[in-house]
């Protein structure tokens, strides 16, 4: 299972760049062929989508992109998604930073179990998970009606800010958050740092805040960003539970405003990519600074 998730955490993994032998046998023409064919495969849809959104009857216009902020429902759905994303990041970090640190420093026996549990969402179909969640939520009217528990269940499903999405997204984010944080903890030689802090008389909470968090800065940033992007792009859970978030909004408007839906799609892909590039550049810079 571990090998399976290797590197899924996306960009900016802290692994050092090993010098990879550049090809020397043969001309390596196949490499260029692969790069060219796959490059075309990946670029054409993006280029075509951009063209699709800017062409007009009489030439080219960026009008569709200007329409996005004012589009019906956009602001609402997007702010809701951002709020859900923020809360998901906060809960995921609160839950996982202490767990990863503990597992690495004090409870190595639990490592395999924790690893296995955090990797489960990677292979478990989200649609199966959400059907289960729906069944649990259905208990409120079926069995607990009129009890405080039912009230709590209903509060979780407030359409304005559906907390249930936050809680389920934390589960979906676990593989990414765990891998990013685990790489950070292993890279930072946290054991020495925390032992030094403990010897100097710091309490465990103090160690967590003043030693662990600063040492894990990039991993935390990485984990947060991956979670953010995951939440902003998640469709299945929100659609099945019937909440309107950014992705379900795109699908809803696609019928009446195809150009707008494509424009938003392209924009969200490109913006996510640029942000990821920036974070990976940040990572690289810190990496070189520390090693020199």
């Amino acid at each position: 299972m571990t090998a399976l998730a290797e590197g899924v955490a996306g960009a900016g993994s802290v692994a050092p760049e090993t010098p990879v032998r550049s090809g020397r046998r043969g001309s390596g023409a196949w490499r260029y062929a692969v790069l060219a064919v796959l490059g075309l495969y990946f670029l054409v849809p993006i280029a075509a989508s951009v063209w699709f959104t800017i062409r007009e009857r009489d030439g080219v216009s960026l009008g569709t992109y200007a329409e996005i902020p004012g589009a019906e429902g956009f602001a609402e759905a997007f702010t809701r998604s951002l709020a859900i994303a923020g809360l998901t990041v906060a809960i995921a970090l609160l839950l996982m930073v202490p767990t990863v640190v503990l597992v690495n420093l004090r409870l190595p026996r639990l490592r395999t179990t924790v690893e296995l549990l955090t990797l489960m969402p990677l292979v478990l179909p989200p649609i199966a998970l959400v059907v289960g969640v729906r069944s649990v939520l259905a208990w409120a009217p079926d069995y607990f009606f009129g009890t405080p528990l039912a009230e709590a269940f209903f509060a979780l499903q407030e359409p304005a800010l559906p907390w249930i999405l936050v809680f389920v997204y934390v589960i979906l984010a676990l593989p990414f958050v765990y891998r990013a944080l685990d790489a950070g903890v292993r890279g930072a030689d946290l054991r020495t740092l925390t032992e030094a802090a403990r010897n100097l008389g710091a309490s465990w909470p103090r160690v967590l805040v003043s030693v662990v968090l600063p040492a894990l800065r990039t991993s935390v940033l990485n984990a947060s960003f991956l979670t953010l992007a995951l939440v902003l792009g998640e469709y299945t859970i929100a659609a099945i539970l019937g909440f309107e978030t950014f992705p379900t909004w795109i699908v809803r408007i696609s019928g009446s405003q195809p150009q707008l839906s494509v424009a938003v799609s392209v924009l969200s892909l490109v913006v996510t990519w640029v942000l990821l590039l920036m974070i990976s550049a940040l990572d690289r810079r810190r990496g070189t600074k520390e090693s020199s």
Partner: protein
């Protein structure tokens, strides 16, 4: 002892939001509601229903699509990863490909579907180019079919393969190749006896991950084909939204449970292969 308490929140959280829903699924898939009295009883009716007719076709369709796209994605992704790692002055290329892969593999879903609609959908740019300008037509190809879905799935599966396999490729030490060259081995012998065995477990693992990812994909399929193609995920969504038919909710649960069981079987198979290859390596 107190330390163990520190890990408690994590286990509680996972128990409530991950294990409980799956457990409930496993129990309630065996419940049935009487259409007249609305009384609930134990029954295997739902389980039986999903092994027949359209549901069976949906499982077969999903499995076929995932198997084909997983293998194709693994082969192409491996080729792309090797090509990117070997490129001269490849640092920038590498970073671009890695980050782009991160975006496409994990967060594509809906945006990908719309990008492809704009490209080779009915009103797509490339469709127009091929049919109107060049007069070629698409040769019977349509985005709203299994082939069309496979084309779109590969758009996030190849990046997933690249992301997953690059660490394994980086772990292949150049020294091993040099040693094997110095001992007079040919390229083929190197891959047969050194590179291949080392890469086999991660490649198999990554292919399984691709399979699971394609099997679970719902957003892309939903946005592209609605429900015109037999896929389990689409059938589940249909079963859940069809409130008119009593018992369809339970059928949805049974279908979802079926997916979990199938993925579980794939994982067991993966663990078995992993053990075999480890023994072989040792």
């Amino acid at each position: 002892m107190l330390v163990v308490l520190g890990a408690l929140p994590f286990f509680l959280y996972v128990a409530v939001f991950l294990l409980l829903p799956i457990g409930v699924l496993a129990v309630e898939a065996f419940r049935a509601t009487d259409p007249v009295t609305f009384e609930e009883t134990w029954s295997t009716a739902s389980i039986q229903a999903i092994t027949e007719g359209p549901y069976r076709r949906a499982y077969v369709g999903s499995l076929q699509l995932s198997a084909i796209t997983a293998v194709l994605g693994a082969v192409l992704g491996l080729a792309l990863a090797v090509a990117v790692l070997r490129a001269r002055r490849g640092r920038l290329l590498r970073r671009l490909v890695l980050t782009a892969s991160g975006v496409l593999a994990n967060f594509g879903g809906i945006p990908l579907a719309f990008a492809f609609l704009a490209t080779i959908g009915n009103a797509g740019v490339v469709t127009a180019l091929l049919t109107d300008t060049l007069g070629l037509g698409l040769g019977g190809f349509t985005l709203f079919s299994m082939t069309g879905l496979a084309l779109v799935y590969l758009y996030f599966l190849i990046p997933l393969m690249v992301l997953t396999i690059i660490p394994a490729l980086e772990a292949l030490r150049p020294q091993w190749r040099e040693a094997s060259d110095n001992l007079g081995a040919t390229g083929w012998q190197y891959w047969r006896h050194v590179g291949g065995p080392v890469l086999a477990p991660p490649v198999i693992g990554a292919t399984m991950l691709l399979f699971a990812s394609a099997f679970a994909a719902y957003a892309t399929a939903k946005a592209l084909v609605g429900s015109s193609v037999p896929l389990v995920t689409l059938q589940i969504a249909n079963a859940l939204s069809g409130d008119v038919v009593v018992g369809s909710e339970n059928r949805g649960k049974a279908l979802a449970l079926g997916m979990v069981v199938l993925v579980g079987l794939v994982m067991v198979f993966y663990a078995w292969v992993q053990r075999r290859t480890q023994r072989w390596l040792a």
